[in-house]
């Protein structure tokens, strides 16, 4: 197997029965695998709710490590809509010219630093830094804050060998609490300050709700961006011809970014809780059990994608669900797309080739499936 390849472990189950099964802390999950079924279930919020106990729709479940509801992520329509409307314009700021100029500076710096070294460990030494620095733009907080976040390590909720690390969560919650208080005393145009000002039907958000939005911003955009960036470096390491092509054909950069997101599917799946006894893929699912929308499998659905297991840089029709589907689609997608677009352009411009020196795969254990989602470590040299 090639080092940068992400195999599709779901193919057989997807084509034969359409679903898979996994346990997760005694709260089993029926995984929906086909693109159309995933979309249908994502759309049907009445039967498959996001508004369950906080943390339950996440896999692995976070019910034991948090009580704060992530907003608007763990809400259903119609309430979802009003909360989403508050945050949506803020999360579209990456489209503004100043924002992408700053982001571009950050990414150029980090690529230049990597070029100057003999070897870089990408996960901690490149992707985490890039993600944390870029997050200062999304939150509109001082650049120096990134140092604190980098010191937390690669996962907000996870640390090596311990998939659900309660201590890490406490660090994050305390940090957010402090910043909400700071913004109350001293509003300065950051995300906290915006949320403190926002109202729904004349009502301000509660402190707990503000926390819910900020926690979502931190956790939703951490592993996912780190995976996307790291996987992109590994992919270009084995495909220098793609770097050359993107340099010569900048007009396909958008297609390439969407295709990398499809192929990488940085978030494997997202859960929902079943509200009534029903069927998916002719399989009975019980009320109060869980299903998952398996984005990673849907993105390899051979009924929609030609050559699903190949990266086709200029794929034109690419109805992937790498950013989810429907009213809950990824709030940070604009930010993530901007990061990936600038990263791909910068690499194509500045880097001729990337040697992979050492790597350790990050394999998710999903019951009957094992999925490579990225790397625990990836050491490379940029040329």
């Amino acid at each position: 197997m090639k080092k940068s390849e992400l195999p599709d472990p779901f193919e057989t189950a997807r084509t034969t029965k359409g679903y898979g099964e996994m346990d997760d802390q005694n709260d089993p999950v029926t995984m929906i695998l086909g693109l159309k079924d995933v979309r249908k279930c994502a759309h049907n919020w009445k039967t498959f709710t996001s508004q369950s106990a906080p943390g339950r729709i996440v896999i692995p479940s976070e019910v034991n490590i948090r009580d704060t509801r992530q907003i608007p992520f763990e809400m259903d329509p119609p309430a979802h809509k009003a909360y989403r409307a508050i945050v949506e314009p803020w999360f579209k700021r990456p489209l503004e010219a100043d924002y992408s100029v700053e982001l571009s500076k950050q990414i150029n710096t980090i690529v230049d630093e990597a070029l100057a070294k003999n070897a870089v460990e990408i996960v901690e030494g490149f992707a985490l830094k890039l993600q944390s620095r870029a997050l200062t733009l999304l939150l509109n907080t001082p650049y120096e804050e990134a140092e604190t976040w980098i010191s937390w390590g690669t996962h907000v909720f996870r640390s090596e060998g311990n998939p659900l690390d309660g201590d890490k969560a406490t660090i994050l919650y305390d940090y957010i609490d402090k910043n909400i208080t700071r913004a109350m005393e001293n509003p300065n145009g950051d995300l906290y300050s915006m949320l403190l000002e926002a109202t729904i039907d004349g009502q301000k958000l509660t402190r707990e709700e503000i926390k819910g939005v900020v926690v979502l911003t931190f956790s939703g955009g951490r592993d996912t961006i780190i995976n996307a960036v790291t996987n992109a470096i590994a992919y270009f390491g084995e495909h220098p011809e793609s770097l050359a092509r993107l340099k010569n054909e900048p007009e396909i950069v958008n297609n390439a970014v969407e295709e990398l997101i499809r192929y990488f599917s940085p978030l494997t799946q997202m859960g929902r809780v079943v509200t009534e006894d029903t069927e998916v893929c002719e399989h009975a699912v019980k009320a109060n059990s869980r299903i998952s929308l398996c984005w990673a499998s849907a993105n390899r659905d051979e009924r929609t994608f030609e050559n699903p297991n190949e990266v086709v840089l200029d794929r034109k029709l690419n109805p992937h669900v790498g950013f989810g589907f429907g009213h809950h689609n990824c709030l940070g997608a604009t930010h993530a797309r901007q990061i990936m677009t600038i990263l791909v352009k910068t690499l194509a411009e500045k880097v001729k080739s990337i040697d992979i020196l050492d790597y350790k795969d990050n394999i998710e254990d999903l019951g009957e499936f094992k999925r490579k989602v990225g790397y625990d470590k990836l050491t490379v040299k940029f040329n």
Partner: protein, 104 residues
């Protein structure tokens, strides 16, 4: 050269002219409210959803199955729905009127 009229969700009329590329790109380049084109035109985001005005529908040609599948689960879709990143600008669509669809 094609003249394309957009009617926004606030009922504002915006008339643009284009010669090539997709209708979504033209709308995004000119800041038509409600046409975001998040995915850049690969048919993955549905933020370029429009309703083609009666009488103009045939001008845009047929939607592919991938496009109709995307629209199938859209609560604001009807039989005149299109994702306008999939409509190419050409003389054939001259005079078309597009209503920007509602979204969540």
């Amino acid at each position: 050269m094609a003249k394309i009229t957009f009617i926004t969700r606030d009922n504002e009329t915006i008339i643009l002219e284009g010669t090539s590329g997709s209708v979504m790109q033209l709308a995004v380049d000119n800041g038509v409210p409600g046409i975001d084109g998040d995915c850049g035109g690969v048919c993955s985001c549905a933020t370029c959803h429009v309703h083609v005005d009666v009488g103009h529908h045939l001008k845009t040609g047929e939607a592919t199955e991938i496009e109709t599948d995307m629209l199938e689960l859209n609560d604001y879709a009807n039989e005149r729905s299109r994702l306008c990143c999939q409509i190419q600008i050409s003389d054939a669509i001259d005079g078309i009127v597009l209503q920007v669809a509602e979204s969540d």
